[in-house]
């Protein structure tokens, strides 16, 4: 969860675009009318001896910098009994470096900076936004908290209170509870089954030893990617990073999660009764491959066709046409390292019938499998994904986020063009094939929120 009142970024959809060459190019002669390509920003990369990967993305439009540190640690790295620890660490990282300690935030704000962070099932990402004049200080502060944490028991107790409060806040939202139940039902073995917040009893029982062990194993430089985007000179910035963070030793190593989710061999259904919820909801999920898989670009296109914008199939049928829902969304739950979920989520109008919504969703999916998407729908998906990509490339923060994600989840930021080309190349037949493969009854989990108490 992030520190300001923001929701967990569980689904950070990579909005990528086809690019065949890294320069401005006219539409290729073999594709008349094809939209022009996009330009990549300049990136300078270095991997330090301790394994820390550093990306510098210079831009001098404004005298500011956006810094992101991506740690390859999330709730998937937890074990039963100590769930919620990765998210708890997100909080602790603002309180306990040996030198700055509790002065971390006041020091950063006094230098003109602000910060935030988020934890997902796969990564924990720390973000700083500051004037470029503060770069040496900010790097010093980041080095401090990467180098070693001080787990003061009073601070631990206080932050445990904060995350408990956060847990309670999310419990009040019926939609969040339903989503938690959806994951817990769709996954029976893999750590994805529990929520990033963790189970309440685990939050209450972490020990000092749990914290120290978790930090030592997971917060090691070889598991991190540092991205600096904005008003920096690459070589000077790299020298600063090397001087400070280069001294941090590698970690002791860790076991990667080894429990794979067995194939789902029959539909799963779960119901949540909530006397306080005003409106019904229904969520459907299907198991799909991990983000790095070749079918992911096809699913990103499917997301747009099904529920991207108001002209999408599900919006037109459920929100506009039959007026069954207040809103509907669909898409990948990624980016994720391990096999993930594709979901459809619908918030119904008062008194709405979830069975009808399920039927309509099923009809639209079946139609898409049998008839495939129209040419217009494919064009729209490509254009939407391209426009989204351009928006992200327009700001320091967007560039840092996009390049960091690509580095972490796609085998390197250099693979951005390949992913873009793959999105552009998705055909109607691809859409039909992928839907037929994954969107089946056997592979489906359905979670329904029913208003009021159970009848029995």
């Amino acid at each position: 969860m992030s520190r300001a009142p923001l929701r967990t970024l569980v689904a950070v959809s990579l909005v990528l675009v086809a690019v065949a060459s890294p320069v401005w190019a006219a539409p290729s002669p073999s594709e008349p009318g094809a939209p022009p390509e996009i330009a990549l920003p300049e990136v300078v990369e270095r991997t330090l001896d301790n394994g820390l990967c550093v990306l510098i993305v210079p831009d001098h439009d404004i005298p500011n910098v956006s810094l992101h540190v991506f740690w390859r640690v999330g709730s998937r790295n937890e074990t039963t009994g100590t769930t919620g620890l990765a998210h708890f660490f997100e909080h602790m990282m603002f309180t306990g470096g040996a030198r700055y300690g509790a002065q971390f935030d006041p020091t950063m704000e006094a230098a003109g900076g602000s910060n935030n962070a988020y934890t997902s099932r796969d990564v924990t990402v720390y973000q700083d936004w500051f004037p470029s004049s503060a770069l040496p200080l900010i790097l010093d502060m980041e080095t401090d908290r990467m180098s070693g944490m001080v787990f003061d028991p009073d601070v631990v107790a206080s932050e445990r209170g904060v995350v408990t409060g956060e847990w309670r806040l999310y419990r009040e939202d019926p939609g969040e509870r339903l989503l938690e139940l959806l994951w817990a039902t769709a996954y029976v073995a893999h750590p994805y089954r529990w929520d990033v917040l963790g189970w309440k009893d685990d939050i209450d029982h972490w020990t000092q030893g749990d914290l120290e062990d978790f930090f030592r194993r997971h917060y090691a430089p070889e598991h991190a990617v540092l991205v600096l985007a904005g008003d920096v000179e690459p070589e000077a910035a790299l020298a600063l990073v090397e001087k400070r963070m280069g001294r941090i030793p590698r970690g002791p190593g860790r076991r990667e999660p080894h429990t794979r989710e067995p194939p789902q061999e029959g539909e799963r259904r779960v119901v949540l009764h909530d006397p306080n919820a005003a409106l019904p909801q229904v969520m459907l999920a299907w198991h799909v491959p991990e983000t790095g898989h070749a079918d992911t670009p096809v699913l990103e296109v499917v997301e747009q066709i099904l529920a991207g914008g108001e002209s999408s199939r599900l919006h037109m049928r459920l929100v506009e046409g039959d007026a069954l829902c207040l809103e509907v969304s669909a898409g990948l739950q990624g980016p994720q390292f391990d096999p993930s979920l594709f979901t459809v989520q619908a918030a119904l109008r008062e008194g709405g019938d979830t069975a009808t919504v399920e039927r309509v969703v099923g009809e639209e999916l079946a139609r898409l499998v049998s008839d495939g998407p129209t040419a217009d729908e494919l064009t729209k998906a490509r254009n939407v994904l391209r426009a989204g990509m351009l928006r992200r490339l327009r700001t320091n923060d967007g560039r840092a986020e996009l390049l960091g994600e690509t580095e972490v989840f796609h085998g390197g930021w250099r693979r951005l063009p390949a992913r873009l080309a793959a999105l552009r190349a998705v055909t109607a037949a691809d859409v039909q094939r992928v839907l037929a493969a994954y969107v089946t009854a056997k592979n489906r989990t359905v979670a329904t929120l029913v208003v009021g108490e159970s009848e029995e």
Binding site: S114, V162, T379
Partner: protein, 474 residues
């Protein structure tokens, strides 16, 4: 495609045509200089070219929508929600395109069009790939001059709005703002809920929505129009197209800026018996953006409740663990109405209310230190550019805000200097003069049975049920 091992590729993003950053000792920021397009009277059009990425965008604001006739006087009944329905319906069919064709043609191009209403204006915004600049401006013309206001679409928009209010009432965080502004400022143009409430929306007819936009015998919007076009655009072609679209059309230049009413005192307690969290706000009249003490106001508020390590957040979240967030601020759309905002579990309502109030009182009584002042100044300057000026659409919105609230552009261009010039003595004077004194105005949402005894000492209490239509007494 293969790339070199280290330095990579291509064109860095091109700098904006006019620099946003003026050279100077404190790296001050400056608004970009727009290209002014002289159209017919009543339309103020600006272009902000920016070739950084191949996107184009627009924002237009129309004033004078759904205002009661000037002759009707200040007591004439408002129809909260009409302007908002106008905004929603403008996107639902214009020119040759009905609602479905409009959204299909926009979205197939990867474009977006969205709209909203505020107390002063109806706003439509859009963003498209650069190659669709001409299409985008055609859409702007259609929306402004040929909106369809189809009966069915107005009904649909109204239904969605009512559903939205009902859904929002399930979540106090979504609605406390509406209860607050109506309680503090009454049911006039600045206090009434812009998106309407269950009753006001139910009473609005399609004829009302159409009447709010046109004038008899005159197509097009009723009031002055402000338009900004941004991005990777060809200035010559856009200018020519705008002339073509608007021709000799004239907008009514007259519009009355809503006056800021006095702030009502007392406590509004909105009962939500099943709530697990208590949400509350307290405050009173403040000062607006164009006030000479604006910079000092911002510095003081940053320390009190404008950032993560503010006094309020430090006390309530970091030290006491009572909440996930506490802050404060001045609402510049409503004459600078000031509020402290936070929430807590119902069980800790008394503690949180006491602590928030104590923190505010201490701030008013004791002021702040030089170190806090310096820190706040660095923070406001360090955060300004990415929040307001990094992209052309951001800069465009800022220009429109300044115009709408009659604040000169120098307010931005001299902002850093004004911040630099504020002394500790200034800040203390401003705190005493402009941060509201007691008795304060309060809105509290939560289970009344628990909260009644807690809020009783805060002032005269008026109680309503959250489930009752509307957002409290007007």
């Amino acid at each position: 495609m293969r790339f070199g091992a280290l330095v990579l590729v291509t064109l860095g993003l091109a700098a904006c045509a006019s620099p946003r950053i003026a050279p100077g000792p404190s790296a001050s920021v400056r608004l970009p200089e727009p290209v002014v397009v002289r159209l017919a009277s009543g339309i103020h059009a600006l272009l902000l070219p920016d070739p950084a990425v191949p996107l184009v965008g627009f924002e237009l604001r129309v004033r004078g929508v759904a205002q009661p006739p000037l002759a009707a006087g200040p007591d004439s009944l408002e129809q909260p929600g009409v302007a908002s329905l106008v905004a929603e319906t403008l996107r639902r069919g214009a020119g040759e395109r009905d609602a479905a064709a409009f959204r299909e043609d926009v979205e197939r191009r990867g474009g977006r069009v969205w709209s909203s209403a505020t107390p002063r204006s109806v706003r439509v915004l859009g963003e498209f790939l650069a190659e669709d600049a001409e299409f985008m401006l055609d859409i702007v013309g259609d929306v402004l001059l040929r909106p369809r206001f189809d009966h069915g679409e107005i009904e649909r928009a109204r239904r969605l709005a009512i559903d939205g209010v009902l859904a929002d009432k399930d979540d106090p965080e979504s609605v406390i703002g509406r209860y607050w502004t109506q309680w503090a400022l009454g049911g006039g143009p600045l206090g009434a809920p812009v998106r309407g409430d269950e009753e006001s929306l139910a009473a609005i007819t399609p004829a009302d929505v159409r009447a709010a936009w046109g004038r008899p015998g005159q197509p097009g919007p009723p009031g002055p129009i402000d338009l900004v076009v941004t991005g990777d655009l060809d200035v010559g072609r856009v200018t020519e197209q705008l002339h073509r679209i608007f021709g000799a059309w004239r907008a009514d230049a007259l519009t009355e800026d809503p006056s800021v009413p006095g702030v009502r005192s007392g406590v509004l307690l909105a009962d939500k018996p099943d709530a697990v969290q208590t949400y509350f706000r307290f405050g009173g009249a403040g000062i607006p953006w164009d006030h000479p003490d604006h910079a000092a106001r911002e510095l003081a508020n940053t320390v009190l409740g404008g950032r993560f390590t503010s006094r309020l957040n430090t006390a309530l979240r970091i030290e006491a663990g009572l909440t996930y967030g506490a802050g404060s601020g001045f609402d510049d759309e409503r004459g600078g109405l000031f509020a402290v905002r936070t929430y807590t579990a119902v069980e800790t309502s008394a503690e949180a209310i006491d602590l928030a109030l104590a923190t505010y009182r201490r701030f008013r009584d004791e002021g702040l230190s030089q170190a806090e002042l310096d820190s706040a100044r660095a923070y406001l300057q360090g955060q300004y550019a990415p929040d307001h000026l990094e992209t052309a659409p951001q800069a465009g919105s800022l220009l429109l805000d300044l115009r709408e609230l009659s604040v000169p552009t120098s307010a931005v261009d001299t902002y850093f200097e004004r911040l630099d010039a504020v002394t500790l003595v200034d800040v203390h004077r401003v705190i005493r003069a402009h941060f509201p004194r007691e008795p304060l105005t309060w809105v509290v949402i939560g289970p009344a049975e628990t909260l009644r005894p807690i809020v009783a000492p805060l002032g005269e209490v008026t109680e309503v049920s959250l489930g009752a239509p509307g957002f409290g007494p007007r």
